[in-house]
Assembly symmetry: C2
């Protein structure tokens, strides 16, 4: 009986269903251009938002809210905040890096049909939330999991998503009337695109290289890459070309 159950579990996702998940993960991109004029159907938008709402949340607190935006005045104010923050952050680096940074297209606020602000409300179902007493940030982490669900669901629907983190949260709070205790976590731009790049733009531009899987995994302790109990997986991540 137990063995049958295990077999059932292993078979629960078909090979093509598994492919769907991995394809979404590996072909998902942060999209800043290539938005088309096609509107996102409300049925698709609902489905994507529902995927976000089914993320894990600490103590089942579901602390997220989603503010859908298409008002052009709101978009213009956010775009203005982006421009200001991009300029001021560019002062932190020097040429030639600065010019390169300033030349990058880093948002699609006006071109994308839907903007979306995802917020964290720590007061929801609070103040006591299971799992949030020792690590208060766990509530914020839940919201990020929701964003990643949303991103992957959008990808399978052919909808591009770009996360704009070059802006002022104070401006965002004012423009969207957020109460003081609510934290804007992400400002996203969504729309159908006529292309998903095969690699992240910043990788293509030579800004930073992709790390190999072996560069980000340790065993038992920080920076231990050679622990003898994990020889086989060390060998896999070092030699399998998929993980280079």
């Amino acid at each position: 009986m137990k063995v049958e159950r295990k077999v059932k579990m292993a078979e629960e996702f078909t090979s093509e269903e598994k492919t769907g998940l991995y394809k979404a993960i590996h072909s998902r991109r942060d999209v800043r251009s290539h938005f088309t004029s096609r509107l996102i159907e409300d049925e698709i938008l609902s489905k994507i938002l529902n995927a976000a709402h089914h993320a894990p949340s600490v103590g089942f607190s579901q602390p997220w809210n989603f503010i859908l935006i298409k008002d052009s005045q709101t978009k213009a104010r956010i775009k203005e905040s982006f421009e200001k923050e991009k300029e001021s952050s560019s002062q932190l680096i020097e040429d030639p890096k600065r010019s390169k940074y300033l030349s990058f297209k880093l948002e699609g606020i006006l071109e994308s049909p839907v903007n979306l602000c995802v917020t964290y409300d720590p007061s929801k179902f609070g103040p006591f939330v299971i799992g949030r007493s020792s690590i208060p940030e766990a509530g914020l982490y839940s919201v990020c999991c929701a964003i990643q669900n949303l991103w992957l669901a959008a990808r399978t629907e052919g909808v591009g998503l770009g996360w704009v983190s070059i802006l002022s949260n104070d401006v965002l709070k004012e423009v969207l009337n957020l109460p003081n205790h609510v934290i804007p976590v992400a400002y996203l731009c969504l729309g159908y695109v006529d292309e998903f790049a095969t690699k992240p733009d910043l990788e293509t531009a030579g800004w930073l290289p992709r790390l190999g899987l072996k560069d980000v995994i340790f065993f038992e302790k920080w920076e231990d890459k050679e622990n003898l109990s994990w020889k086989n997986i060390q060998n896999i991540i070092k030699t399998n070309p998929d993980y280079a």
Copy 2:
């Protein structure tokens, strides 16, 4: 040409592949029990970790590290921290809630074959990271996106994952030798399970209800649920039973 391209995009995921993604999202659970003795194959573990490593990251900073743990002494010390934090957090509430909280099974540290600490290293590729100057937390958010990728990939492989946030990050840092500047984001328990619950445990236990999709979506501004520009989607999320 443009139309052909759009059609291509829309068709890029087969219906079964899309199903795979949504099935992973909707059947993913925070697993604290039902772990079997079956070990996770190193090939599967690598694949799951690679899914995490292909998450979006602010400025392509890839600021995550993954510390794989199976050492029983390490596990025992983390379990001890869990017990202590659970007890002290229970002091924040009163009976009958307190007894109920204490009765919940909230982790599978010792029963799961693999524990995994996911960390955030803000110094990686820093100090200037594109998109992290105005909102420094964006680096932390990237790590959470990686965790959600990992969670979904694990689900498609039949591997259960439980996130333990009832523990002391100071203990975690000491036990795993984390440098001062590195932030532990998640402590995860992974292993094959003989069951994925159909609903979150805390929902089943009646601790908190699941919110409807309509309860978490606003239009244009905080708390605006009736904005006239969004009538159609308001109707969908209010009436479609999938979103109740």
